[in-house]
Symmetry: C2
Subunit: 213 residues, 2 copies
């Protein structure tokens, strides 16, 4: 489950399946684990084959193995989520003969998904919602320089609800991981917002702990 | 990973392996998933075969699949943790030909474990530590009537640190899920402690939410 944030919208990478009975259905990307790789290596490889990207934040979150979840026999799927910032013109390529094409889709416009992939999506989102409250994973989705509005936007899109602007800012600034860049957003003439960067050293320290965001 | 609490100590169920190269080593219990059962059903069945117990709180927490984790070829293990209250004289039986015997072992005296089971234990404990701070899973380990000291004891054993008694009690009582039974601990003549029960309806409501315990 690969999430990307483009500064305004939260998107997920879906592939269009190629074979019956799910021809033309949308699905979460995935592929087989190779004989000599670990599960983490496999997840990284599949992400890289699809997006060309490496060094992306990923977490294994759940394993799905109901006996009837795949029409051709028992398939056990070990699910990971990945969070990344979208930008530039990365070309996507389908990773396997299972897929016709790959697309970034707004999570608000999720199509009907093949197999039990809706359930896999729901479980993953539930895990991310829980984690975003206690660990600073939201930053993985943001560009290097970001505004507090963008940061709040990420939280609101993941949690699926509006947050109070004043409380949000106060709380976020209180952790001491945001560095004010003394620099304004570009391309905005009226009331350009301040840009922040996060302090990587403090961030690394914070990451090891449990924090109530 | 089956945790049990007997009112004083936190224990884990280990089996003594039967076959080389891990003969006489201790390991976490487990067994093969059957062709027609889901992963959850499989975990419940294995727990039941070992302890005779059903209706136990369980969570799938991580899947381990490094190619070299088992000497006889690749084995993917889907790990669950279970939390239960110990009491009565439940006989334990080894669940498979892999095991010679099963024992409840104090988590403070964990022996050297076979395969990558130490890693599986560590990961599970990390997940439980995180969860116990936000969801009321500690109650799964307690008898129906318990004292606040026992409740604190569970938290301290899982978190691996001492907690301030006054703050702990204040916080716990503030959630409104503990019902004072107006009844004292038995078999204690001097300063017997008040017994509590948790309110199942409020508990169920709380369980669906994120709470900072």
């Amino acid at each position: 489950m690969i999430f990307g944030f483009d500064g305004g919208e939260l998107k997920i990478l879906l592939i269009e399946r190629n074979e019956e009975p799910f021809k033309d259905w949308w699905a979460l990307p995935g592929n087989l684990v190779r004989a000599n790789e670990s599960l983490d290596q496999s997840a990284s490889r599949i992400l890289n084959e699809l997006t060309g990207l490496g060094d992306i934040y990923m977490e294994q979150y759940y394993t799905f193995g109901d006996p009837d979840r795949h029409p051709q026999g028992r398939v056990v799927s070990i699910a990971y989520y990945a969070l990344l910032r979208l930008g530039g013109d990365k070309a996507l390529k389908p990773i396997s003969t299972y897929a016709k094409q790959a697309h970034w889709v707004n999570v608000k416009d999720l199509p009907k998904l093949a197999f039990d992939h809706q359930q896999i999506f729901d479980k993953g989102l539930e895990k991310i919602k829980r984690r975003i409250k206690h660990q600073p994973i939201a930053f993985e989705l943001l560009p290097e320089k970001f505004t507090l509005t963008q940061l709040q936007n990420v939280y609101e899109l993941i949690l699926g609800k509006k947050l109070d602007k004043r409380n949000f800012r106060k709380k976020m600034l209180s952790f001491g991981v945001l560095r004010d860049l003394d620099e304004k957003q570009k391309g905005v003439s009226f009331r350009a917002a301040t840009l922040y960067r996060f302090d990587k050293r403090k961030y690394a320290k914070l990451f090891g702990k449990e924090i109530s965001f």
